[in-house]
Symmetry: C2
Subunit: 410 residues, 2 copies
């Protein structure tokens, strides 16, 4: 089979795993679907004769060549890949496109007769979306030390199951998780290919871009207090209805973001007691805010926090990631390689989405990203899409970049 | 034991069933907690030598005397009682106070040596709150024919379990449910004692009231459409965020109700996909609205429906109950009996809460209610309360009313 045929076959296989009635995916960390994905990945690596290893968080690294020998010789490895998990009712491309493309790159290099001077890994990170335990990039955060194992193990899902319990249920030892400098030392360069999650490329009419940076972004929990009471018999003036403050937050977040040039979203809410005929005694809303300018994001959240204070809310920052520039030298190198094809204009785009590549960059590992055109900009949705020709163009672009990296200087 | 001691003992026993960590109750229809409550009721009836029967919906009727013999003799029975189920995290009093008081009335009548000329039933209605399947007063609605068995059996709970499946799981035959005129014909008068769910009595400084009517009330489901997308990468101008329309509904409902003299509440919401980093593709909010004037309630909902239409929402009326006056002759009779005690001022109060007594009244059965003072007006909450002395006053008042009904003319 050609590289393109192999890509298409992998894509078709993967499409079946964890798909719901809407066509969207529910692929959450340490679930049966996750196990199926891990086994699928292991099978593809075995088929290519790659040496599959797991780091101390269960991220899967499949090596072509010996990274420790390279280290001993003063060189280092190159890693490519992404993640296979999804948000609730997510699309097929966010994550899997990078993993499948990375596997196809191995095939393409071999078809082209490239013998890597540096070892090459295909990596599949676990729990990138944080859909189950609430913290995105949990896999890369733990191995880089950005999140302590104690915090990770104590995170709970909607059913109150802790990550520690989920790991045990998946047959893993929670005590084993933690920072893994030994694994990360092997990686002299990491390149993550990802479907674009905005309209940058489609508006430019170009299939592939190099990433410049990840916007500063964070999550905040707003807890609005109220008093449970009967919806039919309690006078309006006697009510303390937690839903009112929540509704104000939703609308204020949109207004504030419009003014500050950020984005701000409330996509998740929990209500107690949650009965049709009961006034809400507690409403928790989660705010996601990001933007090119960290001060503007901070100002947006500060304004919303003050306003929510009028409703008695307490606000908890659940995560905050400053602006993350990708490695300039690595990014420039990718761009020069791609720009040497006269047919290809290669824009450089920032993004509001977090990625494992950003976590690795923050940990000091040279990291870069390629984006593949998204014809609608829609992501985190069953409607997320990339044209097949653009996926193939992404594989070709990543192949050229990796050929340069594994044959050139570290 | 005295009547008061028996009341207190029953109250203490019941307090243990279905209580959660907050002190609130989760007593939903056809659950293990519900079964415990049914068995507790059956035990109390057996202890008093009452003949326990069930109607075609599983409502429990315990007779002192033979109602069919009374019918044959041209008379009819008197029924007193309420329900034992609760809203999510509900209080101890809403429902159980009426059942426990009714059982205590049997004790009091016997202590006073009253021999009823008319048979007396203590009744415990099933599924009054509709907490599990969404329709309040399901038990009385089905036996009176106000809700068809087909509709009832097809209702589903949050886990997608239908009432038919829940009945089967509880060891019952779903095919058996339906209107039960034979049971209802026995009831010449129904009196439901209930904790007040507002501040009418506490503001008047009086322990017991007679009800005048139940406000017209209904439930409407608002479905707001959106488009799932990435919360970080989707420009504000490209978004279709279903949460915005929902938030507007919450705030508009409060504003509209303030103007129209109704109450309007959004206490329940469901969001898809519900991820922190995903724009909502669908938000469903449930509106509860009531008021003394049906036209004002209708106008409130019409205004909100039109406004939600601007957000593309579809609005579905899930229930509508017109104003329900209680039986004037029966209510007057209760008031005269109580007013003959010079120490007792007996106000007449309307209420925004639905009750089985209202369903029976609508079905043409002479029905009335007594309210017992609620010191804060709080209901549908763990903080719901009635002073013990007021509970005992309620038993005494109901005893006097029932003594008159069962000894006087039908």
């Amino acid at each position: 089979m050609s590289v393109v045929e192999t890509f298409d076959a992998m894509w078709a296989e993967l499409a079946e795993i964890g798909r719901g009635p809407s066509g969207g995916y529910r692929r959450f960390a340490w679930t049966p679907e996750d196990r199926q994905l891990r086994e699928w990945f292991a099978g593809e690596c075995a088929r290519r004769g790659l040496d599959l290893t797991e780091d101390r968080m269960g991220n899967q690294w499949a090596w072509w060549g010996d990274p420790d020998a390279a280290l001993a010789a003063g060189s280092s490895g190159v890693a490519i890949g992404s993640h296979l998990d999804s948000v609730p009712d997510g699309g097929a491309y966010d994550g899997p496109l990078g993993v499948v493309s990375a596997l196809a790159v191995v095939d393409a290099l071999r078809e082209q007769g490239v013998t890597p001077a540096r070892p090459l890994a295909v990596v599949s990170f676990v729990d990138e979306e944080g859909a189950r335990f609430g913290v995105a990039c949990a896999g890369s955060r733990v191995v880089t030390g950005a999140m302590s194992p104690e915090r990770a193990l104590g995170l709970t899902d909607e059913d109150g199951v802790s990550m520690a319990e989920a790991l045990r249920a998946a047959g893993r030892d929670p005590a084993g998780i933690g920072p893994d400098p030994q694994t990360l030392r092997r990686v002299g360069a990491f390149v993550e290919l990802h479907v674009e999650q905005g309209r940058g490329l489609v508006d430019l009419g170009v299939p592939v871009a190099v990433a410049s940076d990840i916007w500063p972004h964070g999550r905040w929990r707003f807890d609005f207090p109220g008093e449970a009471n009967h919806a039919g018999t309690t006078r309006l003036e006697d009510r303390r209805d937690a839903m009112l403050g929540y509704a104000d937050l939703v609308l204020s977040a949109r207004h504030a973001a419009t003014r500050t040039g950020c984005v701000a979203t409330v996509g998740k809410v929990a209500v107690e007691p949650g009965g049709v005929n009961a006034i809400a005694s507690r409403v928790t809303g989660w705010l996601d805010s990001r933007g090119p300018d960290a001060d503007a994001v901070r100002a947006t959240v500060a304004e919303l926090t003050e306003r929510a204070g009028d409703f008695g809310a307490t606000v908890t920052q659940e995560s905050w990631t400053p602006a993350t520039p990708f490695d300039p030298a690595l990014s420039d190198r990718l761009r020069s390689v791609l720009a040497s094809d006269a047919a290809l204009s290669v824009p450089v785009l920032g993004t509001g989405a977090g990625h494992d590549a950003g976590i690795l960059a923050t940990a000091g590992i040279p990291a870069a990203m390629l984006f593949v055109r998204n014809p609608t900009g829609v992501s985190h949705s069953p409607a997320e899409h990339a044209e097949r020709a653009d996926c193939h163009a992404g594989v070709a672009a990543l192949t050229r970049c990796v050929a340069d990296l594994v044959q050139g200087p570290a």
